[in-house]
Amino acid sequence: MPDMEQLYQQRLKRYTTAMRKGKPDRVPIRPFVAEFIATYTGFTCQEVTQDYNKAFEATRRCCRDFDWDATVPNMVYVWAGIPQVVNLKYYQFPGVGLSPNVGFNYLEPPEEQGSWMQADEYDALIEDPTGYLYNVWLPRVSRDVAAPGQPNTLKNNLSFLKGGMQMMNYFGAFPGQIEKMRTECGTVSAIAGIFKAPLDILADKLRGYLGLAVDLMERPDKVKKACEALMPHLYHVALTSSDPTGTVPIGFWMHRACVPFISQEHFDNIHWPTLKPIIEELWKNGRQTLFYAEGKWGAHLKTFATLPERSIVFHCDRDDVFEVHRALGHKFCISGGVPNMMLAYGKPQEVRECVKKIIQGVARDGGYILDASAIVQNDAKVENMKAMTEAGREYGQY
């Protein structure tokens, strides 16, 4: 029986040393496993999406069985228990109009209905972002929430009562899960807190990608002012939800604010000027940010390299991890690079060779964390995840 606290401390040191661009005893392994936990443990996607205790349990079983240094306490991150009681329109959950064996879906608003935020509402958002969210956005994205001035309903009242209580329940369950990961598995909770960039959140939940693409051409000044208005709030949420000790980074989920979804000009003039100051301020307050760069961000690597040394960990999804290392490895820890397609459709030997090649090319001087390219879903094969882990241990010794 291993000494779990000793194991935890070894893994924590390994993980944090790499994140600070140091050379630990070996390459840390930190997969972000979502619906894979269901594949591995025999739960359905529906079970781990509807019942967070099952998701917690499945995560811990993976932690016990795989030699991982760190992972997320629950990467099936949209627990259905909140969106269902608020009756949000933009999700579909497994087992509710979907097979119980697929992950949840995020739905862009149907084009004929317009977006969740209308094009002529920028001024309202800019003037009072929090008021806009409560008074306009929430009644629009929920089937139950009544807007101010509309007749009140039982469903409206219950959406706030149940939504608030569910959020307290869910967030309140995380300290227990993190403690169990530590004491039962010796595994580190990989991140704490949430951050999204102003331009990304405009596209994700307010204007939709299509709406934002039009706005960037027709009203770029409004878009920029809206991003500026969102900045202090997104910074506040990131800081207050982060690890107060600054040991583990804040998760920054990067979606579509990159070329070719937006132009280089819009990146340079709107996205980056409303993102960089937040990252710098978080760093001044002792918080690293994990750039979870979903998709391809190769057009912007030189720009990211202007951030303070060690202020971020850059997670590589579909970019060439060797190119990312050449552009950013002198300043930041790099993670990821093992293609999810390979984990789903490849053979264990291919995975082993891929891990070996990445470690030899990227991890030689430390500052690398082994992980899949993106969040690991239920299509990943168990034997390939085992191969990634075993190869990481075999080739990742310093």
Binding site: Q113, Q118, E121, D128, T130, G131, L133, R140, G149, K205
Partner: protein
């Protein structure tokens, strides 16, 4: 579903609202400086009342911003 403006009206409420407008800072929904205007004269330790209000108000702020960012 009809296209165009009528569909848009059907889809959503108007951004114009009769709700009072506050200067809200990050972390606030109904700031104490506004709430206190509704209350009778405070006696004893007003800071206790203020803290109780602000602690609960901060949760309301977390609720809406977490809905936007995480759910």
């Amino acid at each position: 579903m009809k296209h165009g403006r009528s569909a848009r009206v059907q889809h959503g409420n108007n951004a114009m609202t009769t709700e009072p407008k506050f200067d809200r800072k990050p972390g606030e929904v109904i700031p104490w400086r506004e709430k206190v205007k509704e209350l009778p004269e405070l006696s004893g330790n007003p800071d206790l009342v203020k803290k109780t209000w602000e602690d609960a108000d901060a949760l309301a702020y977390v609720y809406i911003w977490q809905l936007l960012l995480s759910f």
